[in-house]
Symmetry: C2
Subunit: 205 residues, 2 copies
């Protein structure tokens, strides 16, 4: 695709580097941006540039933050002895949306994935160990995805934490709430049978 304008071509090339955006979509986005007021487009490009230049990571939990410590770690109403380990900020948002968790987080910044060349040293595991050694953490919840990579990362962290005084837990696996049995996959259904619990314990919630 050769365009009549190098400026447009550069913008399309750049937009097409984003994941899930091909050249056709990039072209559509570029033409939409061209239709906007110049001031609006400046706001658009500045928001992206400033995010990359000025964003920092929380010194404690490695979450994305505008300040040295993020708003969650600064919050005096949250329990610092309970730390939930997650892959990235999207998981923090998902858990916050449940309004069920009043502890703090630790954001790994990814999961162990030998296929992609990502090992434990590429994640914020060192900072987690430091928090465990220094602080008064009583429980570490491994809230990782139920994928091969998530499981590998959980296995690694559990082994590293064995021997320290913290309790290591992981999220329950079982049927989705509101889901029928025939819609659950075999692994999940099998797991929910193996992990069955006394009726009184589950049904009262």
């Amino acid at each position: 695709m050769s365009l009549s304008s190098t400026l447009l071509e550069n913008a399309v090339d750049q937009l097409a580097t984003l994941p899930g955006i091909g050249r056709r979509t990039a072209m559509r986005l570029a033409l939409e941006l061209l239709r906007r007021e110049p001031q609006e487009v400046i706001r658009f490009s500045e928001a992206i540039r400033r995010m990359r230049d000025e964003v920092r990571f929380c010194d404690t939990c490695c979450n994305i933050s505008d300040e040295p410590r993020c708003s969650i770690c600064r919050d005096p109403n949250r329990d610092p002895s309970l730390v939930c380990v997650v892959e990235d900020i999207r998981d923090v948002i998902a858990i916050e949306n449940t309004r069920q968790f009043k502890g703090q987080y630790h954001v790994l910044g990814g999961v162990i994935s030998p296929m992609d060349g990502i090992g434990p040293e590429d994640l914020n595991t060192r900072q987690l160990m430091q928090r465990v050694e220094e602080g008064d953490i009583g429980e570490v919840i491994l809230a990782l995805g139920t994928t091969l990579e998530g499981d590998t990362t959980g296995f690694y962290l559990n082994r590293k934490l064995t021997g320290s005084k913290v309790r290591v837990t992981m999220l329950a696996r079982g049927l989705s709430v509101g889901g029928d049995l025939d819609q659950a996959d075999e692994l999940t259904l099998g797991r929910s049978i193996a992990d069955r619990k006394p009726y009184e314990q589950l049904a009262k919630r």
Copy 2:
């Protein structure tokens, strides 16, 4: 969705203004941009800002261009007496990719759409009339989409051009090349019967 960083939130908000990109996708794109080198992200945001600030439109055909006249209008090998009227630059690219057309273009910048409040005066129709009056244009090809808006625009332009010395033509409608009859919609198939041509005229190509 409340985030721990206003900078990230602004970038997500801006990305989510793009057509077809919701807040979840915008979040994914923002996190991907955060993972890149700062220099790369500066190139990204600069390419978009510069496009909007510096791009201009060809004085002749209203196509997007970096210079007062676009590369197609400047090309001495192209026939200025044959002008293909299209909606936007994507159509120019599509027709150029066929390598079948050696004339020039006229880019309307949209189609007449009363529902969206777009009338003929919002398009580059005045410039087209001026080209017809001034120049040595022999034929105007209406290469518009086969939608209600495209048809309305073609109807309007044909009426404006009736009385001038130019010949007005439109793209042929019929079966897609490589398509089976049972895959064509009824309107297209009906049209291809009504517009049937002598075998010798079509089959020899």
